[in-house]
Structures are given as C-alpha cells and as structure tokens.
Symmetry: C2
Subunit: 197 residues, 2 copies
C-alpha cells in the first residue's frame, strides 16, 4: 500500500464508505468496516481524515451529486416542455429502480447528519442543493419553451422536490414500483399543465 498517496487514499476511503453504506447501511459503516473494504489497515484512517465526521462530510457531498446527475442528464432530451420534464423524471426514476440501496443511503445520511452538531448544516445544504437543482430545471424548461409558470417558482420547486422525494421514499419502504411510477407521471402531467404562454 506504500505506493498509494495519502490524497488518493482519501478518495479510496470515500468510495469504500459508500460501498459499505449501500451494502450494509450507514450505522454499519464503522471505521473498521471502511478500512477493511478499502483493504487498508485501521491506522490508515486517521492520517487520511482528522475524524470520521470529516469523512462523512465528503461522503454526503459525493453521494448527493450521484443522485442529481442522472436527472439533470435526462432533461437534455428534445421535445415539448412536458416531454422534457417526463424524460428528466423518467431518468431519475430509472436510477432509483436500478440503485434503490444507494438512494436509501441518502435518506439515512440526512438523518444521521442532522443529529450530529458538526454536520447539521451539511444536511441542510443537501436539501438546498436538491431545491436549487429543481428550481434551475423549472426556470430552464419555461425559458426554452417560451412560457411562464402560473405558480410561484419557489412553491413549484418545493412541490416537485417533495413529490420526487416522497415517492422515492414510499417505493423504498413499500415496494410497489409500478403504482409509484404512475403517481410520478401524474405529477409530471400536472406540473406541465401549469405553464402559461
């Protein structure tokens, strides 16, 4: 292991942490489990990170980006406002179906961070990032289709964010992917209908 720099080890530990969390849950991601996953000795942990809290801050930032990327990618499709909105939501939903355990971890991490005094604002920033992304999406969709929203964008952004988040959580906990997906389509149709020329 002498051939890997400390900086590179930090990245390896972040990735190993996410793998452990996805497989076994946030509570099981102890420093011991993490270094074992990364094939490093226990002592390596504390000259790569000052504390476990410092690692978790990086993990939350990394996994939040993972969640957002597929949705923003899907929005690049062509077509009407409604078609593009459906494509974006569809891409996100497919990611949920393909990687349910990774999404479960994002919820666990939010709750975990919110209770740790040093990480409370990291949790808040996570949701502000979701909101900012959906706000940007709504503004862009209106702009390229030459319309405006008949509902204030901050309200609509929270509506969309909450529906996506709530349906994901419902699917993860209850398990009916088809009906939850239909509810997401219903939301896309409704939101698209709120655009005015």
């Amino acid at each position: 292991m002498a051939r890997v720099s400390a900086a590179a080890r930090r990245e390896l530990l972040i990735e190993a942490t996410i793998r452990v969390m996805v497989r076994d849950g946030v509570a099981k991601a102890t420093t011991r489990a993490i270094v074992a996953e990364a094939n490093m000795p226990l002592g390596a942990f504390h000259y790569c990170f000052r504390s476990k809290e410092e690692l978790l801050e990086r993990v939350i930032e990394t996994i939040t980006d993972h969640t957002l990327d597929p949705a923003l990618e899907g929005l690049r499709a062509d077509g009407s406002l409604e078609e593009r909105l459906r494509a974006g939501l569809g891409a996100y939903w497919q990611h949920v179906l393909d990687h349910p355990d990774e999404h479960r971890v994002t919820y666990e991490l939010t709750q975990y961070a919110l209770r740790e005094s040093g990480l409370a604002d990291v949790a808040k920033r996570q949701y502000q990032t979701y909101l900012a992304a959906n706000t940007k999406v709504l503004e862009t969709l209106a702009e390229v289709s030459g319309t405006t929203w008949s509902v204030p964008v901050p309200v609509l952004a929270r509506y969309v964010t909450a529906l996506i988040d709530g349906l994901t959580l419902l699917y993860l906990n209850e398990g009916d992917a088809g009906t939850a997906g239909a509810a997401l389509d219903l939301g896309a149709e409704y939101v698209a209908g709120l655009a005015r020329i």
Copy 2:
C-alpha cells in the same frame, strides 16, 4: 419502584423511549438513556422486554398512530370535498409545525427498522398503514360528496402520501414552512379537482 407492575413499566418505558428519541435522536436512545429517563435501574429493562428490538417494535407502532391521528381528526370537518381535504391536510400540517422533532423521529425509525433484519417488516407495515389511511380518506371523501376519482385510487393514494411525506421531510431539513405549506395547498387543490360527478 416496587409499586409499579411490570406491565405498567412496559408502557412507561415506551413513553420514555419516545421522549428520548424526540429530544436526542434515535441513535441516542440507548437502554441506559431510556431507563434513566424513566427513573428505573438498568436491570429493569430486560424483565420488561426480551430485547431492545422488542421495545422498538412497540415504539414504532405507537408513534405511527400519533402521526396519523391529527390528520384523521381534521377530516371530520363539514363542507365540500375540497374544504374537507384542506382541513385534514391543514390539521396534519399544524401537527408537523407544532411537533417537528416527533416527525423527525418517524423517519429515523423507518430507516433504522429497515436495516434490522428483525424489524424490516415493521418498517414496511408503517408505510402500508399510511397508505391504507390515505386510501380510506380518498374513498370516504368521494363517497360523502357523491363523486368518483378520475384517477385510480391506488395511484392517487400514493400521490397524496408521497406529497405529504416529501413536504414534511423537506420542511424538517430545509426549514421554509410557509413555502412548503403553499405547496401542500397546491396539492390539495389539484387532487380535489380530480373528483368527477
């Protein structure tokens, strides 16, 4: 403490657990913290409950009822379908604003239970209970106003459940009660518009 029966102690421990969880979080609700909150010796725990898991099962069932009660209460109002729906959602939302930490615990408990093999189906049952309650609400609202839903009730129930759940989580994590409340109103208006004579 010799004057309290073991059965009564079980209830006292369940209530003490919820108080600790609301104040300090699920992870901090150790057996030691719980018995201290209930003013009992540590040894009392294990002749009231076989294990911590057995206690948590009872805690989840109890707190799920707490969450549902105010919403079902609010629905008893008079008025049109939309007025009654708004009253029910409004009563629920007021409960969230008044007791945010209690709602935070419900999310923490779901995640916690889902990772414990012995409690996984308790978590699933929690969400099935939410869904069943909202399904019942939608069916009752349609019945008393002589209408039917233009969208399949299972889809609509998931839509409502997810929007409520997502907006609660968003408010707890981000903090803008006013805008989240406005988004909930938007949802109530939309759903009410899906009723057909």
